[in-house]
């Protein structure tokens, strides 16, 4: 294959990565932006979404498209519920003190991973894609499902944006983000907003996982990479800035696609983690953020 089509393929792969990353990272960003909580268990919620999708596909008879649609609705709801319980049972009682919540979410990560290992097993398991349409370009064929993932991710993100900007729930969230105490004084049930935001963040990770699982199989340790990449995206984009998160996800996803096609993936990851550490050191507000986090 010539360089041009090869680059196009790398960019398309990067676009799929970027779309899934944008979904996952926006969940992390939402939780950090509104609750000021660094959720280390975010990758575990991602993994849980994928693993649950496998269970749904296994148990539900009928065509794969139906099982997939069911998983797309069911998984985020269950993962969101688990997250809401974790928030109310643990994080709330820690009063969202930053260091304690990080330690607690690390504990949560271990618990969820163990649960998946015990119930799901150590093997990677595939989930069938809802359809197997193949887009034939002049140089190579490309999976139509991957392109559908990009579209689906864009639609979900649009939905999140609409909820945040144009719904009452979004208004409450933004008010809580602006000033927790004043929001409480105005009669907003801040505890419920927090539980809802935490659930929504986890739900977004679960949706991303359901979308990716036909491409990359479910595995109980699959949460590590998305967690790391989401951290990178959220930091580069500016902690808590949703728009920055999207731009950064696109940037990181595309460059990851290109770098891992042409160079060693490990090297790409080393460079990305170092860049993030240095961005945090020298520009703590992120590349797109306006004020210090």
């Amino acid at each position: 294959m010539d360089f041009g089509p090869f680059l196009l393929l790398a960019l398309m792969e990067g676009l799929v990565t970027a779309a899934v990353l944008a979904l996952t990272a926006s969940g992390l960003s939402l939780v950090f932006g509104i609750m000021r909580v660094v959720n280390v268990a975010h990758g575990a919620f991602f993994m849980l979404g994928a693993v649950l999708a496998w269970f749904v596909a296994e148990w539900l008879p009928g065509p794969p498209a139906l099982a997939f649609a069911a998983a797309l609705v069911f998984c985020p709801l269950v993962v969101g519920a688990i997250a809401a319980i974790a928030d109310m049972a643990v994080l709330k009682r820690l009063n969202y003190e930053p260091e304690a919540t990080i330690v607690a979410t690390i504990g949560l990560l271990y618990i969820l991973e163990q649960a998946a290992l015990s119930l799901f097993g150590p093997d990677a398991r595939p989930v069938e894609a809802p359809f197997s349409f193949r887009l034939q370009l002049p140089w190579f064929g490309y999976s139509g499902y991957k392109l559908a993932v990009v579209v689906a991710a864009a639609l979900v993100l649009l939905g999140v944006w609409l909820i945040l900007k144009h719904s009452r729930a979004g208004l409450l969230m933004r008010a809580t983000q602006e000033d927790r105490d004043t929001a409480r004084a105005f009669g907003i049930n801040v505890d419920r907003v927090y539980a809802g935001v935490f659930a929504m963040g986890a739900g977004l990770a679960a949706i991303a996982a359901v979308l990716i699982v036909p491409i990359s199989q479910a595995h109980y340790l699959m949460g590590g990479d998305p967690l790391l990449l989401s951290f990178i995206v959220v930091i580069i984009g500016g902690l808590g800035s949703l728009r920055g998160t999207l731009v950064a996800a696109l940037l990181i996803g595309l460059s990851d696609g290109v770098i891992s096609t042409f160079f060693a993936p490990t090297l790409a990851k080393i460079i990305a983690t170092l860049v993030v550490a240095l961005v945090l050191v020298f520009r703590p507000q992120g590349l797109f953020g306006k004020r210090a986090a």
Binding site: E99, A100, V103, A104, G107, I111, L112, Q114, I270, A277
Partner: protein, 313 residues
Amino acid sequence: MRADRGLFLHLGVLAALLALHVLAPPYHHTNLARIMVLAVYAMGYNIAFGYTGLLSLGHALFFAAGLYAAGLLVYHAGAGAPVAMIAGVLAGGAVAVAVGLLALRTAGVAFMIVTLMFAQAGYLTILYFGAWTRGDEGIVIPRAARMLGGLDLSDDNTRYLVALGLFALALLGNLALVRSPFGRVMVAMRENEERSRMLGYNPFTVKLGALAISGLYAGLSGAAYGLMFGYVGASLASVQYSILPLLYVLLGGAGTVLGPLLGALVMFYLIDYASSLTDAHQFVTGAALVALVLFAPRGILGTLRARGLRWLP
């Protein structure tokens, strides 16, 4: 002058460990040697986290620096164990200073993420240079290379005594440190950085010093671990090994000299016991972390100190 209860307590613990050398059955004998080496690592972590208030999620990098400095020197350069041990300690300290120079420009959550990222980059670097480090598979250090002076570190008895010796050194060093003026300043930084700055102490220098000492401890522990147990692998540099000392310190009591040992001991046997009942030992780690931050944020010794044993160092 009042008897120095703190010093006697620590000497008593060391004496008890010496007695266990004779009394403990072989299985626990080996476990204790490992626990003491890990406790040195946790003590180093405690100096940064418990006393100075620096919650790092990247200490595995310093541990790995000691581990690999010692391991690679012995394996590839044919260096003797004493040289490797010293190199390991220095590597731990040097890497800690290098990371500190950058990471200490941040604080709080950003500090945690930056240290986590550096450690992750270090872990990936070890995998990347798999030709030398053999990545996840790791290096097995031959028995012949594990001689410290005339002491054979692969022998169980010698290993226990050397581990105890290093542990004693680290423990008394830690006690001396926290009783020294610098130790007081470290605690002052944790309690109120602004006020300490107003009193004329430079927070950056103090924290960097504490982190450097912490790195020396981690390097010592890493080098000792590699030479004593003969294995140097990338899994020992992974994020789990950054969480481990945090867990030990939280359990035993942050900001107490004996806390890391107690935490390592209790956690080690808790996981050991849980493994005999179920293979879900990660669950124990996770539940312990959550329970600790929820119900006992001060740990065992921290709670005891708050409940009356105020003299506990």
